[in-house]
Every structure is written in C-alpha cells, then in structure tokens.
C-alpha cells in the first residue's frame, strides 16, 4: 500500500469516527437519553482515536501515529468492557436503549476491538512508510472536510457535556441537563 492510499484510508477512518460520534448524538437527542460518565468516556476515547489519522493526513503515515490510535482504542476497550461487566448479570436490563440487540457500550466494545484489529493490519503494510517526497501531496478537500467534521462533532460534545453536567461532577445516572434545569 502506497503512502497516498494509506492517507485515503485514514480519511475514511475519520469519516467512520464522525459517523460514530453523530450516531451517539442521534441516540442522545432522538431517544432523549443522556449519556452516563462511562458512556461519555467512551465517546472521548473515540474522539481521541481521531488524532492519529489527523497526524497521518498532515505529516504522512508513521508508525507512531498509528500507535496513538492503538493506545486510545485499548483504553476505550477497557472502559467499555467495564461497562459491559457492570450489566452482565442475568436480569439486568442494561443502561439505555438497545440498538439492534446491543447497548451502546457493547457496540463501543465491538468498535474498539475492530479498530485494534484494523490498525494492526494496516501497520503490517510497510510500503506506506517509505519516504518519497514526490509522492506526498497536500490534503485535498475531502480530507479537510473529514478533519473539520470530527473537530466540529467534538466541539458539539464540549457544549453537550457542559449542558448535561454543568460545572460539577456528572451524575452517575443523568436524567436532566444540569444547565437547563429550572
């Protein structure tokens, strides 16, 4: 895989992360369910996962950039595994509404494991790391849109979390936006 193809793959990864963050927002606003602290932490780990692809697009693919995403995915998997284990006992209805039979945190665990596997597979392709300045070109419009989409959704999460938690620690089982409370 050439460096240019690797960058295209990184742009695609950013769109996938943007879709995931948007889906979490959709569940929050359409179903009216506020994310719990562990749910917010999983969103944060997905947003943190995006820094590796952004660096790959800007500076070219490097193993260290993929390592950042791997670290974020491993911590994210640990967080979602803990939430799955919190609700694993028979009779526990789980937290929030299930989507296609699985709760958000279970989907998040599947997403983080998929990210770890995909990142490891991409790291196997050494050709992308060969230095060829002639092959490098500035990020195109599609890459710019992908980066700004992810940044925009993360900014939206800053606003949404501030509304939900206010200026104090988030509730374990939030039911109301603290800053909109009368």
């Amino acid at each position: 895989m050439t460096s240019q193809r690797a960058i295209a793959l990184n742009v695609l990864a950013l769109y996938a992360l943007a879709a995931l963050l948007a889906a979490a927002f959709a569940a929050q606003f359409i179903l009216g369910e506020l994310p719990c602290p562990l749910c917010l932490l999983q969103r944060i780990m997905f947003a943190l996962l995006a820094i590796g692809p952004i660096l790959n697009i800007r500076f070219g693919p490097r193993p260290s950039h993929y390592a950042l995403s791997l670290l974020a995915a491993v911590v994210g998997a640990a967080v979602s595994t803990r939430q799955v284990l919190l609700h694993i006992t028979p009779g526990d209805p789980g937290f929030g509404t299930a989507l296609f039979g699985y709760h958000y945190y279970t989907w998040a665990l599947i997403g983080f494991i998929a990210a770890i596997v995909l990142l490891s597979l991409v790291l196997l392709l050494d050709e992308q790391f060969e230095k060829d300045p002639a092959a490098y070109s500035a990020p195109d419009v599609i890459a710019h849109v992908a980066v700004w989409l992810v940044i925009g959704l993360t900014v939206a999460n800053v606003a949404s979390t501030l509304l939900e938690c206010g200026f104090k620690a988030c509730a374990d089982d939030p039911v109301v936006y603290e800053l909109l409370k009368r």
């Binding site: 803990r82 979390t161 988030c170």
Partner: protein
C-alpha cells in the same frame, strides 16, 4: 465538568495536530490519555457483580 475539560483538550490537540507542531500534538495526546485513564479509575469504583 471533567468530561467537558477532556473534550475541550481533545479539540485543542486536534487543532494542534492539523495546524501546529507534531511534537506538541503528541504531548497533548499523552496528557489527555493520562487524564482519561485517571478519570476512568476515579469512576470505576463500583464492585462488579460477576458471581451468578
């Protein structure tokens, strides 16, 4: 509040990764990751009921 701060720090790290220096972006990433692990350990205090 801590989650708002973490999201905000990620926005800053993303902007630095896109416009600023690579070294600073890597340092910010490391700081945010440590903050995330600390937040996780702070919230992961409930006992897991795994015996069934």
């Amino acid at each position: 509040m801590e989650f708002t701060a973490l999201f905000l720090a990620i926005v800053v790290a993303m902007l630095v990764a896109w416009y600023g220096s690579r070294t600073l972006a890597l340092s910010l990433f490391a700081a945010v990751l440590i903050g995330c692990v600390a937040t996780f350990l702070h919230h992961a205090t409930d006992a897991l009921k795994l015996s069934f």
